[in-house]
Symmetry: C2
Subunit: 660 residues, 2 copies
């Protein structure tokens, strides 16, 4: 799925100006009485209650951000205060309530959705300006707080920290924290035990010239990674509410204590006190315990500013007790996968490819019969994935979008919006799975009838972007942001572009957006062993959407003269729709890489007869090579395929070239 | 010439580790007594005097940066305190003196030079760490001061501002400020009068939501641009010492008053008081006058943080009186050339091409005779330029480097280092001119004998980088930093790279590095009407150096589907050395662009018979096309050439392809 940095989102806003609005699906507050669609939520009562609680605090406005105390990108329903207050359920939005006004800020991806879901108590702000404005310090990063402050300053306003969340006081039916126990990862998917990881991070603290005495971990994947634990607090993300304070002598793990089994306590050495014993502490005492720690003389706490909330940051005073970096050493260490993680993450992508190919093959047959919809297709692929080994469900809500719906980059079908799939429209499916060994994310765009010239040109140029990034050789330490224009260049050539990021890290049974790896400006430089998605796209308003997303691992490459150069090795193994490729636009290098990918997939599939079978027949159904030839080829086994790959590459290559 | 951002410089250090060191040219402080080359400077006495002045101030160290109060990139000899104190004359370096130690920090480009020029009082620090450390606040930008403070903090040190420079107190023979009068630009090179510019900047102040009441201009080119004035205080740069404080009602120009003639006073309306009258104030009163201004209630001063020195910044208190942006509105406005500026800057490049082609043609004949050196070549091109219309001398010290000397990116020949030019070595010439209508900067690399395969491959890949940037189409507002990898990509492919920036802005009779335009991370996004150099390179230690530098203007381009797209239009008109191009590496698009450039040059030359003649015969001597054919072509006049360009492009194209 596309990652949407706010800068890019702003340009998306400029580029698109989405305006779907079939009559009746969006609210119309200028009528009297206002027209509200059935999807709008009545927020009158809850707004009234919130305003009552604001008055005694003497604040003129209250900010409601769309995040949780760990500044997670994906949040649990119990943290979706924006949805509760406004009715709007999109994944990005900030609401502000004053005594007389209530307003929601979200980016252009969500304007239509907001008009459908909000009642007329709420204004939709497409840009904006801001006495004293209250905020929950748990929901603001240090950086966000500073940005608000700077921007409010020009209008003589300021922020006031209010640790007890006002929305929660109003939200009587807020979902509880899941009671489920935390789980540890099985040994077969682990190379480094938690004790090894703790040692490794302590070494980084020791080597740091600023001499921190403690490291505070605030992002949920930091604690989950450190202890090789997982939970289920956030849909699609195997995280659990937690903080960690790591010193040279102690490990304090803040969790909901009733969720830790005796077995886990033993695993964590929770009954002792010592440098490799984990002291379990209640999740809610983190502020008190941090304050006590900071009160000691000579301590210095290392925090990553991107993922530490203001409520914890503001306790670390005076300034000499604070040490900051953008990302904690846990996040930068986790970004580079060890050998085991690389191997199992590749494996997960092979099984995942089976599921997606099953979907595409089924759609080839089913769509012309006219009974399938965006929703049934999404269900089908989710079901295919659930049958794969070690499946733990989808890694995000499947984006299954046909025709104009695909022009909304983050659309997911609902009963109301779901379109019937036809041979006359393009179809985009962006989906991924959680597996015990890895997280996947892949997008394919197909057409079952006859695409227009413009659709073929746009698809081919998106593919060219994907290939140009994949085949680039670059020095270790180059930033993704300095290469991402390669994903856009073929589109720019004819005045096309896309309004989202070009890729994001993925992890081993973690979030589907695993920062800080990727192509955004604030991402860290690429190193061997990182995994990232590569996902250029193109979106034509009210018409169609294209995205081609693969996951690739960064690997070392031999060059003629230099050392320490890297390139991408694509681990996604689902073919592209041949019908949408205009080969006359591709350079010979691009065609060659495209063919190499296909042949590499053939070799990989020998471990997975199912994929081999589906892959061949799907390619055949797309008329890339004759099905007879493919059936002959598919009767060969591993050795033969390997020989084909290494020795008779040229023969296959010629066949592909002739038929393409 | 290459622009060296410090980040890139650090990587250059890692990449190269330059080590020339012919015995005896560098100092050897481990001998007893130490060995000093004749180029080393005795600094014992001046260090002793400086230390005597430090003691009563109770500072443990004193920092000597290599800049002036305007944070200029190029400085006048009278500001070269680093050279005076250390003997080292490179253009980048910072010295620190304690009671027992004296150390110079410079980057790897200059390590060899520093070892040649410093005596054994000085340590050369290739990286470093730092009581209270004194500094001259006029020589530190706000950003530099902050960076020092942050870094010193970890070792419990801090900075102490000392406005009266200690080195100046020791430096008895410091050169005086030139007594020359300032000059105004003639009307023929001006589209906007200074009054129009003042109005325009005031409008930007008025429109700013932070409501500044004044704008402080600190960089020398800001004041020079605003008033259409020039001076000669800094070699190669037509600047004069100055500050400007611009309010809605007043204009305060701080200069050395004896340098302003009566005529200029009239031009500046210096005898009145009013919103379009320039009040002349003494250069040395800027701190006092700024302090008085800031003491008034309700004022707010806008400064650009990159070019305002700490001595002025520290006066603007309390914080509510300060408004900052990275660059002043003068610098961002100046970055986009108006129609007149674009036209005359293109014109200057045509005349400049004549001079460079004259040099290259002369070298073709003279080098095989064996009498020419790097120095005589530099003198020749400087002389050719001086004969061109409106010439105002070179825009920087000519880099004329053959064989291993060219591997030092910023090398300029001296009597000691100058090599004889031979047909066995490559030759790199990076030079530029100041003209009343524009500043130029161009680099060509040639070989008069038989280049090695590696030299041809490296040259061709550098050319590919130049072409790939030049031909890229991109949305208006794209940053150079996000495209500059195109200049490196063909090199990366075989494990090669270069350790300097890829380009910098150039101006109309201004500095040859006109920031903030260019390909560095802190440069502003590209807009139509900006000029930038494009200059990839490759350097092989102790062997050869390659750089291909052109200047290009950013122009709008029509695309098939989109609006507001830009591309580069190269304005440098000197051909590349055909002998060094391996056309088998070039794509058909790259060959096509290369030929288009050549043909475009033919058309341009019709105004300049001289260029036409030299250009044709030089191409002919390089065997690109037969000289007979060219002589026939060159007898056509403007109309014919224009027709050739527009109608029989194909014919010419075929001729070039056949012969290449």
């Amino acid at each position: 799925m596309p990652s949407c940095g706010w800068l890019l989102v702003l340009s998306l806003a400029a580029l698109t100006g989405i305006a779907v609005g079939a009559e009746g699906t969006e609210r119309n507050c200028s009528l009297s009485p206002p027209y509200l669609p059935s999807t709008a939520v009545n927020t009158t009562l809850r707004l009234q209650e919130l305003r009552e609680r604001m008055r005694p605090l003497n604040i003129s406005a209250y900010i409601i951000p769309g995040t949780d105390a760990h500044l997670s990108e994906y949040i649990a329903p119990r943290d979706n205060r924006v949805a509760f207050m406004t009715g709007f359920t999109g994944s990005a939005g900030t609401a502000v309530v004053t005594q007389t006004k209530a307003a929601l800020w979200t980016d252009s991806r969500y304007w239509v959705q907001a008009e459908r879901q909000m009642d007329c108590n709420w204004e939709l702000e497409k840009d904006g300006r801001g006495g004293e404005i209250g905020f929950d310090p748990f929901l603001f990063s240090l950086q966000t707080q500073e940005n608000y402050n700077i921007n409010l300053d020009s209008s003589n306003r300021s922020l006031k920290s209010i640790p007890a969340n006002l929305v929660d006081q109003v939200w009587t039916e807020r979902p509880p924290i899941p009671p489920d126990h935390l789980t540890r990862l099985p040994d077969r998917v682990i190379q480094r035990t938690w004790q090894m990881k703790v040692d490794h991070i302590r070494n980084q603290m020791r080597d740091n010239p600023y001499e921190p005495t403690a490291l505070l971990l605030s992002a949920l994947d930091e604690t989950a990674w450190l202890f090789n634990l997982r939970g289920n607090d956030i849909p699609y993300n195997p995280f659990f509410y937690s903080y960690t304070l790591l010193t040279m002598d102690d490990i304090w793990l803040f969790v909901h204590l009733d969720r830790v089994t005796d077995e886990l306590k033993e695993y964590l050495n929770a009954s002792c006190v010592g440098s490799l014993c984990v002291q379990l502490k209640s999740y809610d005492t983190v502020r008190d315990d941090l304050q006590k720690y900071v009160a000691q003389p000579g301590v210095k706490v290392w925090i990553g500013t991107e993922y530490t909330n203001y409520a914890l940051y503001e306790l670390i005073t005076p300034e000499e007790k604070l040490m900051t970096s953008s990302y904690s050493p846990v996040l930068t260490t986790k970004a580079v996968k060890d050998e085991t993680e690389q191997r199992i993450l590749r494996d997960a992508h092979v099984r995942d490819a089976v599921a997606v190919i099953q979907l595409l093959m089924w759609l080839e047959k089913a769509v012309p019969e006219g009974k399938e919809t965006e929703l049934t297709a999404a269900e089908y692929v989710n079901n295919c994935r659930s049958k794969q080994k070690d499946s733990r469900g989808p890694s995000f809500e499947t984006i299954s979008a046909s025709g104009p719906n695909a022009a909304l980059a983050h659309y997911s079908p609902t009963e109301e919006s779901s379109r019937r799939l036809t041979v006359d429209e393009m179809y985009l499916v962006d989906s991924g799975g959680q597996y015990l060994d890895g997280t996947t994310d892949i997008t394919r765009t197909v057409h079952w009838g006859t695409p227009t010239d413009m659709q073929r040109e746009a698809f081919t140029r998106v593919l060219m972007g994907n290939i140009e990034i994949s085949r680039t050789i670059f020095p270790s330490g180059t930033r993704g942001a300095n290469m991402e224009m390669l994903g856009r260049r073929a589109l720019w050539q004819v005045g096309l572009n896309y309004g989202h990021g070009t890729g994001h890290g993925v992890g081993n049974y973690f979030g589907v957006h695993e920062w800080p790896v990727g192509f955004q400006t604030n991402n860290i430089p690429f190193r061997s062993g990182m995994f990232t998605s590569i996902e250029p796209g193109y979106y034509k308003d009210n018409d169609f959407g294209i995205r081609i997303e693969d996951v690739a691992v960064i690997v070392p490459v031999q060059t003629k003269y230099g050392h320490n150069y890297l390139t991408f090795d694509t681990v996604s193994l689902v073919p592209y729709d041949r019908k949408l490729i205009d080969t006359s636009l591709l350079s010979s290098e691009q065609i060659s890489l495209y063919h190499q990918c296909i042949i590499k997939s053939l070799v990989f599939t020998n471990h997975y007869i199912l994929l081999q079978k589906y892959y061949f027949s799907w390619i055949a159904s797309k008329n890339i090579v004759s099905s007879t030839l493919l059936l002959i080829l598919s009767s060969f086994h591993f050795m033969i395929l390997y020989l084909l790959y290494s020795m008779t590459f040229l023969t296959i290559y010629v066949i592909f070239v002739v038929t393409s």
